[in-house]
């Protein structure tokens, strides 16, 4: 415990050591920001202004700047609030990815919400609240805090999933997500209860010590194992790994595209952060027990996700199943358990943020009043109408499929390489085989964009302001401008996808210094 005298006496938290507050500074900024947006929403007129997104963007930028500053200044602190939270580089890396994704989503939001007629202030409040939960989750080192983070993350998302209030699909998605999410939380909580019951601790460090003793004497506590299993089920639900993925396609399809963007990337990153922290650090002594089950779940996810995606006709559903498959790939990194595996999984998460945000961003840009861009037919002939958007979408698809010279290639390369070095060849083989299957549906998107004839009704798709190439946009009189921020986001995602595919070391060197701690 460091000094607590630096705070002024009127400060309400003067009993809290300042270092603790520094440790959760990004969480405080985003959490406070959501309250700020709540208040601002009362003050400003409702529709058509950019006050709320600008405030939200500044808040996220502030949190991002704080996190970057902590990383650069090496001002990390693995023990915050008596070990309930860790402000280490692992958490900071996950924060970067989550915050960047959130920033991208905020940039995409105003245009999308306007086109879909959903300009409600609550949107930004809920977004920031969910983001707070994600930031809590990335550094959580106590079971209670983990649960807190999961719920704080989920509850705003339940609302956001149903944000298109007059669309039955959106309402259905919200309802399914809420009920199944509650169901999964039950498993999570039950698992935590069992672990607490057996070890008498909720702190991950203390639990680790207990496990270590058990593992040394080769006596694995069955109740503890059951607790770990139930906890895993709860988390596997959040990362949408098969066979606990049931909610994913329906919710991804039903939710507004912008919410799906946020949900598919940021949620997955935050949930995997806690997953990796638990398994590669806290539960490491029991690795012989969980290694095979996690590997099996990884394989089921890769097979199920990639196979069923082939049979889909909705692009959002395709991306949902692709997300299930991607969860399977990242689980390879968890199952491998070595530092290589953890680094590879983190690399993949960063890669996933670029390519998946990019892919969904294209869908949000193409979404029009009344419905999201979701059918293949809406993408048909996109190359003729919007060569830049079509080219970028093709790039994201190739990256998701793992083509060389894209970031997705190195994501898969590092994961498979870690699996092979760890002697888990079957995992790599399954990964490669299912990647081949994934080409079926990724390339189909490209095929449709570049060959098929556009629908008559999709001519009104908006152009990318200032970026659309001359002479290619049809029906320019009806085309609405998307705005610069959305265009910048999708172009930057494309640039990141390519640049990190050529210079993978830009991220990999960041990851080399990361060791996972658990309080």
């Amino acid at each position: 415990m460091t000094t607590l005298l630096s705070l002024p006496p009127w400060f309400p938290l003067h009993f809290v050591p300042a270092s603790n507050l520094v440790g959760i500074l990004p969480v405080l900024i985003v959490g406070g920001g959501s309250v700020l947006v709540l208040l601002a929403d009362l003050a400003v007129p409702r529709r058509g202004n950019l006050v709320l997104p600008v405030i939200s963007g500044v808040v996220v930028l502030g949190a991002l700047g704080t996190a970057v500053g902590q990383w650069i200044l090496n001002a990390t602190n693995p023990v915050v609030f008596n070990g309930a939270f860790a402000d280490d580089r692992f958490a900071l890396f996950a924060d970067f990815v989550v915050l960047l994704t959130a920033l991208a989503v905020i940039c995409l939001s105003p245009g999308y919400l306007r086109r879909r007629g959903m300009e409600e202030g609550e949107y930004y409040i809920l977004l920031l609240a969910s983001l707070t939960g994600m930031l809590v989750l990335s550094g959580a080192t106590n079971l209670i805090v983990i649960f807190l983070g999961v719920e704080l993350l989920s509850i705003p998302l339940y609302v956001l999933a149903g944000f298109a209030r007059d669309e039955p699909l959106s309402q259905e998605a919200a309802m399914k997500y809420l009920l199944l999410g509650g169901f999964a939380s039950g498993f999570l909580l039950y698992g935590m209860a069992l672990i607490y019951g057996e070890t008498g601790h909720t702190g991950l460090a203390a639990i680790h010590q207990q496990l270590l003793q058990g593992a040394l004497s080769h006596s694995f506590d069955p109740m503890l194992l059951a607790g770990i299993a139930l906890l895993s089920v709860g988390l596997l639900f959040k990362v949408s790994a098969a066979p606990f993925q049931w909610w994913t396609p329906d919710v991804y399809q039903g939710s507004p595209a912008i919410v799906t963007t946020f949900m598919s990337v940021a949620t997955k990153v935050a949930a995997f952060a806690v997953f990796l922290r638990l398994f590669s650090a806290t539960l490491a002594p029991y690795r012989s027990e969980w290694e095979v089950p996690i590997a099996v779940v990884a394989i089921i996810s890769m097979v199920f996700g990639n196979l069923v995606a082939v049979a889909q006709t909705s692009v959002k559903r395709v991306l949902a199943y692709s997300g299930i498959a991607q969860a399977g790939y990242i689980l390879i990194g968890v199952a491998v358990g070595s530092p290589d595996g953890t680094q590879a999984a983190l690399y993949y998460l960063a890669a996933y943020a670029f390519m998946n945000t990019g892919a969904f961003a294209v869908l949000t840009i193409l979404s029009q009043r009344g419905e999201d861009c979701d059918r293949y037919s809406q993408l048909a002939g996109l190359w003729r109408r919007q060569p830049l958007l079509a080219g970028l979408m093709a790039l994201f698809m190739l990256s998701l499929a793992g083509f060389p010279m894209t970031v997705g290639f190195f994501g898969k390369f590092f994961l498979f390489s870690a699996a092979i070095h760890d002697g888990q060849l079957p995992l790599a083989i399954w990964g490669i085989l299912t990647s081949a299957v994934s080409l079926f549906y990724y390339l189909r998107v490209i095929l449709v964009m570049f060959t098929a004839v556009p629908d008559a009704d999709s001519d009104t798709a908006p152009t990318l302001a200032g970026l659309s190439l001359e002479g290619t946009a049809v029906a320019s009189s009806t085309a609405a401008s998307v705005g610069i921020p959305a265009g910048v986001v999708v172009v930057l995602a494309g640039v990141g996808t390519v640049v990190l595919g050529i210079f993978p070391a830009l991220i990999y060197t960041l990851l080399q210094g990361i060791t996972v701690v658990h309080g």
Binding site: M175, K176, L179, L180, F183, A184, F187, F220, P222, L225, A226, A229, L230, V233, F237, P243, F244, W246, W247, P249, D250, P293, F304, L307, V308, A309, V310, A311, Q312, S338, P339, D340, A344, F413, F414, S417, A418, H421, V437, F440, E470, I502, F503, P504, A505, Y508, Q512
Partner: protein, 667 residues
């Protein structure tokens, strides 16, 4: 040398042409030609300036410290991904690293310098072409690829540059894609390149797999400096056969040469080069003078530590080189297309270079490369002026009398011809005599390879002055030739610069037969290439010099006698030795032989595959896989009913299954 400075400068050298490519390509015809007319040549000249700075910085260093390896970034590195100490040794680390040393700087100077002049020339030559921007996009990416090839310090990026050169040459040869012959020629060049590429890939892969270090351990490296350090003499001998094993190193040498032969148009992969004349003339100058065809010479010189360990492979290289030189010389004597004659002369001259690097006279081979780049670019560009003036007529029988109408071009072409023929004071004389002198000293015990090399001289001067005589002297034989005009200044200027170079660069290295030695050139390359194992004695050298010179002059005299005075009938050879004439005129029938032996069987095989194997076997199998995947997908998706109760049930079911399995395992 300051590594940071070198890093920045070499990034500029590689980056500028790439940026030029990007500008021309992305604009895709939208940018005005006038802008691309500046950026296209400008980026290359900028790269040339950066190269010059590197060159000057290098000259200020002592000879021993003129080599530097700069790592740009780590691209693929499995030893990082593994992180374990043991795996780090078996890991595969492909850095993007470049090697700056006298050899690569020489290549860079020629590529950017001569290449830059050709770019300037192209602005004039292509001015009326609708594909102006596309042309400069291809030209710039070609320069980038070539620079990558010579600068790379890893086999991986060497291979990438090698393949990119093949692609860029394909694009340039088939530039006028509406002309069927151009497309076919481009395709032929590309297919030939790919055959060579496979050789290079296999050779590189064998090095990667088999190279052993000082303690007999497998190195598994793609770093070329590490490879050379471990392959040379004095390295640890493994199994008594050298670090690679005797047969292995010979196989590697031959495979690498397969790649070199395709790029440098050496027998048996030479047939693409004459057809490549379908491309615009600046392309011919770029590909056949300064860059692509010399890549093979560079490759053998760069990998000379391997060839020094593989005498059989090196001998084969020398043999093929001299054979190609002779064959191409004979063919050149009977062709009528002005560009084809020059193309065969290129093949012949490159053959001599390959011969030189084969016998171990690396520096002499590179010197010939250097002077050849100057005078051959000159010949092509001067020929380009002629073709431009004659509205794309290339047949010398339709020319005549051009010396009066295009004086400057005539002078330039003659200077180039004198240099090519090896007439004293012109560049070709010094380089060729040094090359043949080294050949005499280093060749096999019986100097018959040298004899062949000297005989090539007479052919060279005969075929090139035959062109000079028929095309430039006499009376115009066509409407176009009658009204030919001198080329505009933009096209004349590069030609005149090259004519100056072709006259003087020979004096950089005057080192044969006891002459007062000037060894600026060979001393510059010595840190990389070493010195030849032997040099000819002064007497032998002087005799060789005299023989070479007399034969060169003899060729010119022969042209004068045949075409000037008519002392010897033009029909002499066709009438009395018809088989020789036909052999030459039909280019030794290689196209026909390949057509019967390779192309037709391949086409027949492909037809069978297309008609039988593809629909029945491949499509059947693939379709089967596709159908079963689709069927599986349909089966699986039925689980996803959309009903919440089902989802919750499945969720619960699988959680319970997990727990049950856990319980069974524990009990």
């Amino acid at each position: 040398m300051n590594p940071t400075l070198i890093l920045v400068l070499s990034a500029i050298v590689l980056g500028l042409p790439t940026a030029g490519f990007a500008v021309s390509a992305i604009s895709a015809g939208r940018l005005p030609h006038r802008l691309v007319a500046w950026t296209g040549p400008g980026v290359i000249l900028g790269a040339f300036v950066a190269t010059l700075i590197i060159f000057v910085a290098m000259l200020q260093q002592p000879a021993s410290s003129r080599g530097i390896t700069v790592v740009f970034w780590h691209w693929l590195n499995t030893s990082v991904a593994s992180g374990h100490g043991v795996a780090a040794q078996t890991g595969f680390n492909a850095n993007f690293s470049i090697r700056i040393d006298p050899l690569s700087v020489l290549m860079m100077l020629v590529i950017t310098g001569i290449g830059g002049l050709i770019h300037v020339y192209s602005v004039g030559y292509m001015a009326e072409d609708p594909g102006f921007n596309r042309f400069f996009a291809y030209m710039n990416i070609f320069i980038t690829s070539m620079l990558l090839l010579v600068m790379s310090n890893t086999l991986v990026f060497l291979v990438i540059g090698w393949a990119m050169v093949a692609f860029a040459s394909y694009a340039l040869i088939a530039f006028w894609y509406e002309r069927r012959s151009a497309v076919v020629a481009g395709r032929k060049a590309f297919v030939t390149q790919v055959i060579g590429d496979v050789g290079l890939y296999l050779g590189a892969f064998l090095i990667f797999l088999n190279l052993r270090g000082a303690h007999g351990q497998l190195l598994h490296t793609v770093n070329m400096q590490t490879i050379f350090a471990n392959v040379g003499p004095g390295a640890h001998f493994h199994d008594g056969l050298g670090p690679l094993g005797g047969g292995m190193v010979t196989a590697i040498g031959i495979l690498l040469f397969l790649g070199a032969a395709a790029k440098s148009a050496q027998w048996p992969l030479h047939t693409w080069l004459p057809d490549a004349m379908e491309g615009p003339t600046p392309v011919s100058a770029l590909i056949h003078a300064a860059t692509m065809v010399t890549a093979g010479v560079y490759l053998v010189a760069r990998f000379h530590p391997i060839y020094q360990q593989a005498p059989v492979a090196a001998g084969l290289v020398a043999f093929i080189g001299i054979g190609t030189a002779m064959m191409a010389g004979i063919i050149g004597c009977t062709q009528y297309d002005i560009k084809r004659v020059i193309a065969y002369s290129t093949m012949s001259q490159i053959g001599l270079m390959i011969f030189a690097v084969g016998v171990g006279a690396y520096s002499a081979g590179m010197f010939q490369f250097f002077t050849h780049a100057c005078f051959k670019a000159l010949l092509f560009l001067a020929a380009g002026n002629v073709i431009h003036a004659l509205h794309d007529d290339q047949d010398i029988r339709l020319m005549g009398g051009l010396s009066k109408r295009m004086k400057a071009t005539f002078v330039a072409f003659t200077v180039g011809s004198l240099a090519l023929a090896g007439i004293p004071i012109f560049a070709g004389f010094f380089s060729k005599e040094e090359l043949l002198g080294s050949g005499l000293a280093l060749g096999p015990a019986v100097p018959w390879l040298w004899v062949v090399g000297v005989l090539v001289n007479v052919l060279t001067s005969f075929y090139i002055f035959r062109v000079v005589w028929i095309a430039f002297r006499g009376e115009p034989r066509s409407e176009h030739a009658e009204h030919a005009h001198e080329a505009p200044l933009l096209m004349l200027l590069p030609v005149l610069v090259l004519a100056g170079l072709a006259t003087v660069v020979g004096f950089l290295n005057v080192d044969f037969a006891g002459f007062a030695p000037i060894t600026l050139f060979s001393a510059f390359l010595k840190p990389v290439l070493g010195v030849p194992a032997a040099t000819a004695s002064d007497t032998a050298g002087a005799l060789a010099l005299l023989a070479g010179f007399l034969l060169s002059v003899g060729g010119i005299v022969l042209v004068w006698a045949v075409y000037g005075r008519g002392l010897i009938s033009r029909e002499l050879v066709p009438n009395h030795l018809p088989w020789l004439y036909q052999l030459s005129f039909r280019k030794f029938y290689w196209d026909e032989i390949y057509d019967v032996a390779l192309v037709r069987p391949t086409v027949s095989l492909a037809t069978v595959i297309r008609r039988v194997i593809e629909p029945e076997v491949m499509d059947g199998a693939l379709g089967g896989i596709r159908d079963s995947i689709a069927a599986l997908a349909d089966d699986f998706r039925t689980f996803q009913t959309g009903f919440l109760k089902d989802y919750a049930t499945w969720f619960f079911f699988f959680a319970v299954v997990g727990l049950v399995i856990l319980g069974l395992r524990l009990s």
